[in-house]
């Protein structure tokens, strides 16, 4: 009885660790990370972390993508003579809309919701 309980706890811990760390991808892919529920689209046109723990390569990928997205938005803002925040709002709206159901998007209140 006691042994059974210990095994159950060990199994649970192993599962939690596995889910938290996730599979280590040689090179993280945005589409894969999104379909795994690790990251999602935010209303400001950037990607954010849905999970508390994300593999280092996914984290690095998100930071790189956000930096490059920001540079692109900045260029659009300059070309159109509009504020960066407005460009980000339009981009965020479109990216959230383009997100397939089953993946996570952030609502205006800052909460992650499954589409």
């Amino acid at each position: 009885m006691m042994m059974k309980r210990i095994f159950a706890i060990l199994a649970l811990v192993a599962m939690t660790l596995g889910a938290g760390i996730g599979p280590t991808m040689a090179q993280a892919d945005l589409t894969a990370a999104k379909s795994q529920g690790l990251v999602g689209e935010r209303p400001d046109g950037l990607v954010g972390f849905v999970a508390d723990q994300v593999p280092a390569d996914v984290r690095a990928m998100v930071e790189r993508i956000n930096a490059e997205r920001k540079a692109q938005y900045q260029e659009v803002a300059q070309r159109t003579g509009q504020k960066l925040a407005q460009v980000q709002a339009v981009a965020g709206d479109r990216l959230v809309q383009a997100t397939p159901s089953g993946q996570f998007v952030m609502n205006a209140a800052g909460r992650w919701v499954k589409k």
């Binding site: 790189r64 070309r79 981009a91």
Partner: protein, 75 residues
């Protein structure tokens, strides 16, 4: 402009690679309060169309950055 972005990207890539090398897993601390992203911005229709058109190009040119299909139909 393009050159600078590339250089910055390369620098950032190196830094991230270095960081990734020492720590296989980075714990992202969940904040106590939900992240507030205030996006209640009023966008005039005319402005929106202008930005939309530019974004069409940006999305189409950088599919890996936005994770959308190549046809770019996000509207």
């Amino acid at each position: 402009m393009k050159q600078r972005t590339l250089q910055q990207g390369a620098g950032l890539g190196l830094m991230l690679a270095a960081v990734a090398a020492c720590s296989p897993t980075v714990k992202v601390q969940a904040p106590d309060k939900p992240i507030e992203i205030n996006m209640n911005i009023r966008i005039e229709q005319e402005v929106r169309v202008k930005i939309d058109r530019e974004l069409d190009d940006v999305f189409a040119r950088n599919p890996e950055l936005f994770g959308i299909p190549a046809d770019g139909s996000t509207k």
